[in-house]
C-alpha cells in the first residue's frame, strides 16, 4: 500500500516520553513481531477492531509495528447495531485521526429478521449478529488472516489457543488439533479458503493492558471512566439507559449512579460496575484489588459452561 507520509515525521518524533518498563517493552516487542510476521506472510490480512481497550492497544501496537509506513491492512468492525453510541463516535474519530482504512459490517439478517438482544436472547443474538456476521465479513473480504486482541488470561479455553489460531474454510477452530507452536517461529502456511486468527496480545494480562494504556497515553472510549450515568437493573446487571431502544420492563425503574464499564460490547448485554475510578491511576488501583474478573460483566460468556469455547469452535473470535 502506498504511503505519502513524509520522511520529515521521523525527525519530529518526540523523545521526551519515558521508556517503557522492561516487562511492557517485552510484551510490546512480541506483539510487534507477530504483526510484522503476519503482514509479511499472508496475502490479505485484516484487523478486527471492536473499539474497546484491547482493540485500542492492538491498534496502537500496529501503528508502531509498521511505522514509518501506514498500517498495511484494513480494520474490520463487526457492528451489531447495538454498540454504545459513544463507541461509534470514538471509532469514527480514531479512524479520521490516524488515517485508517475501516470496513464496518452488519449482518443483514439483523434488520431483515429484526433480531435484537431483547427478543432473541443473548446466545442466539450473539450467534447471528457477531459470530455469523464475522464469518460473513471475513468471507466477503477474502481475508486469509485476521488479527484479534484476545488474551490468554481472559477465559479458560483461550489459555490453550495458539498465537496463530488455525481456522478451517468454514472458520472452525479445532482445539484438539492445533498446530504446535515453538519458540517465536509461526507457521503461516494455509491453503486457499483456510485462515488464521492471529493474537498479538496473547501473553498480556488485563493489568498489562491498563498499564500500557497509561504508559503510552492511548485514548479510550470515555465509558471506561466513572461518571454519573442513567441505568436500569436487569438480570443482575446494570444496563446503561441512554439508548431510546431500551424499554423499561414492568417493575424496572430508571436509576442514576456513578458507574463505569470494565469491558465494552453491545449495551444491552454489558453490565456496568459501581466505581469511582475517573482516571487511569484509579482504574489500575481498582483492578489490582479487584476480586472479580473482567468478563464477569459479559452476559454472553455465562450462558453455559464452556460457552466461549463453543462460540470459538463456530467461528467467534
Amino acid at each position: 500500500m502506498p504511503d505519502s507520509r513524509p520522511d520529515t515525521e521521523l525527525r519530529d518524533t518526540p523523545a521526551t516520553k519515558p521508556p517503557l518498563d522492561p516487562h511492557l517493552k517485552a510484551l510490546e516487542n512480541e506483539a510487534i513481531h507477530i504483526f510484522r510476521e503476519v503482514a509479511a506472510e499472508f496475502e490479505k490480512p485484516v484487523m478486527l477492531y471492536s473499539i474497546g481497550k484491547d482493540s485500542s492497544v492492538l491498534l496502537h501496537v500496529a501503528r508502531k509495528a509498521f511505522y514509518p509506513g501506514r498500517i498495511p491492512f484494513p480494520l474490520l468492525h463487526v457492528n451489531t447495531g447495538w454498540k454504545f453510541g459513544e463507541m461509534i463516535a470514538f471509532r469514527d474519530a480514531v479512524v479520521k485521526e490516524y488515517d485508517l482504512d475501516l470496513v464496518s459490517y452488519t449482518n443483514p439478517r439483523g434488520a431483515a429478521e429484526n433480531i435484537t438482544p431483547f427478543t432473541h436472547g443473548s446466545s442466539r443474538y450473539t450467534d447471528i449478529m457477531k459470530t455469523e456476521a464475522l464469518r460473513q465479513a471475513l468471507d466477503l473480504g477474502g481475508y486469509d488472516a485476521a488479527f484479534g486482541g484476545a488474551r490468554r488470561d481472559e477465559e479458560a479455553s483461550r489459555a490453550k489457543e495458539r498465537i496463530y489460531s488455525f481456522r478451517t474454510p468454514d472458520h472452525r477452530w479445532d482445539p484438539r488439533n492445533q498446530r504446535p507452536e515453538l519458540w517465536n517461529i509461526y507457521n503461516g502456511m494455509v491453503r486457499k479458503g483456510e485462515s488464521v486468527r492471529a493474537f498479538p496480545l496473547s501473553n498480556w494480562t488485563e493489568v498489562d493492558i491498563w498499564r500500557y494504556i497509561q504508559a503510552e497515553d492511548i485514548p479510550l472510549v470515555p465509558l471506561y471512566f466513572a461518571k454519573k450515568r442513567p441505568y436500569v437493573e436487569r438480570d443482575g446487571m446494570m444496563i446503561l439507559a441512554e439508548d431510546p431502544r431500551l424499554e423499561l420492563l414492568p417493575g424496572e425503574t430508571l436509576q442514576e449512579g456513578v458507574i463505569r464499564f470494565r469491558t465494552l460490547g453491545c449495551f444491552p448485554l454489558t453490565g456496568a460496575i459501581r466505581s469511582q475510578a475517573t482516571t487511569l491511576d484509579d482504574i489500575i488501583t481498582e483492578l489490582e484489588t479487584a476480586t472479580v474478573s473482567e468478563r464477569q460483566g459479559r452476559a454472553i460468556d455465562r450462558d453455559q459452561s464452556g460457552s466461549m469455547e463453543k462460540k470459538k469452535r463456530e467461528g467467534y473470535f
Binding site: T205, V292, Q304
Partner: protein, 513 residues
Amino acid sequence: MTAQAATATALSQEALSRDIDAPALTVVEKAAPAVETQKVVRDSRPLRLITCGSVDDGKSTLIGRLLWDTKAVKDDQAATLTRDSGLGRQNDLGLPDFGLLLDGLQAEREQGITIDVAYRYFATERRSFIVADTPGHEQYTRNMATGASTADLAVLLVDARAGLLEQTRRHATIATLMGIRQFVLAVNKIDLTNYDQARFDAISAEFRELALSLGVRQVTAIPLSALKGENVVYDGKASMPWYDGPTLVETLELATVRSAQTVGFRLPVQRVCRPGESFRGYQGTVAGGSVKPGDSVVILPSGMVANVSKIVTFDLVRNAAVAGDAITLVLDRQVDVSRGDVIAAIDSAPQTGLAFDAQIVVLQPDGIEPGKRYWLKSGSRRQRVTVRASTKLDLASGKWTASETLEMNAIGKVHLAFDELAIFDPYEQNRNTGAFILIDPDTNNTVAGGMITGKRSAHGGLSDRESRVVLSLPVDLAEQLMASETFASRRDEADVRRTSVRRAKDLLGEIDG
C-alpha cells in the same frame, strides 16, 4: 434469556455480592501475603517457566495454588469452578478443584483429561510469570518440547513419597535438550511424609546428581505442600522449621531470564518498509547482540556489506538496540535486502551453508519420512530441506541409538540438506537463530521442532571448527584458487578478506607472536 443463562447469572451474582470477609468458597483464609507489602517497581522481564510432572504428583494443585495465592483467580471464576465441580470435586481443604480451573476445554472437563499446552499468568510485586502448563502423561514429549521452547526455567515436580521416577529423568532430559539450564525440584506432598527432612535431603541429592549428569548446575530443591500452600507462595516454617531455603515463588522471582545480548548482532528481516522513495527500512526483531548507528554489517546470504545509519522506532530515533527489540534498521547504502535475509555483525556473522546437523523433536503422528522434502522455517526464513535421521534418543536410558526413522514424540539427530544457503547459529549459542520448525508441504502442519548443533561440510563430516588455515596470497593466485571447483563447492566455509601487504604481514605476525 434461557433458563440456563439465568441460573448462571444468579450464581455469578451471588459471587459478586458476597461479603469479602466471609468467603463462600474457602475455609482457608486468603491471608495477607507474607511477601513484603511495600510497593516494588517491577524492573524485570516476565519469567517464562514450564511445569513438569503428572496429575499424581499434584501438578494441577500446585499451579492452582500459585494462581490462588497470588490472587490471579478472581471470585467469579472461582464461582464457576464451584458450579462446575459440584459436590464431588472439591479437595480436602474445601478449596475448589484446581484441576477444573486449568482444564479449559469442554472435552477435558467431561473426560477429566488434560490436552495440550496451556499458558497461565500470575504476578507478584516483583515480577510477572508466564507458565507453560503441559500434561504429564499423554504426548508429553511433544507438549513439553513446545512449552520448554520458550521457557527459561523448569519446575520438576515429584511426590515426596515416591521420590524420583523414570519420568523425572525424561522430563529433565527434554528440558535440557530444549536449552533450559535452571531447574527447580518441587518435592510435593511433603506433609504426607510428616515433613521428613531426611527424605527430602535424599531426594534432592539424587536429583542434583541427575541434573549434573545433564550438565545443569543451577538447581533449587524445595520441600512443599501445594495442597496446604506451604513453601509455594507462603513459607512453611511452622511445619518445616528445618528448611530455611526460599519458597517456590521467591526462587522464581530471582531466576534469570535468558539473554541473547552477549552474542553477535543478528536481525532476521521480517519485512522491508518503504513508505516512500526517500525511506527504506528493514523491520525485524533483534535475535542476538546489539547494534548502533555506524556499525558495519553483512547481509546474508548475499554477503554484501553496509553500515547502519539509523535505528528507527515509533517513539524515537534510537542510538542502540539490543536482543529482543523490534526495530526498523536503515543502512547507509542501497543494498538488496529482502524478507528472510539476516543482517549480522560483520565480525561475528552466523554460519551459512547447504548442510547442517540438528536435533529434532517429532510432533506429528506421521513421523519424519526419510528423504522427504519439508519446509524449514527459522526466524523469518523459509526454505526447502531434506531431512535424514541418524540416531534416536532413548529417553529411559539417555542413550542415542542408530535409527533412520523417527516416529511421533521421538527425539533424533538429523542431517539437513538445503537447496539454497541456510543461515544458522548453533542452538547452544543462540536460541533464536539456532531454532527451526519443519512444515509438511502436504498438510501444512508443523511436524517437528529443531535445534541446530553445527554445520556440515559438503563432504559429509562435521567441519572442523577447532583449527583453520590462514593463507596470505597475491591477488591473482587467490583468484585462481577460488575459481577452482574444490574451492567453489566449499566457498561458504572460507573467510576471505582483501587487505594490504603490510596489514597481512602484521596479521600473520600476530598469529606467530
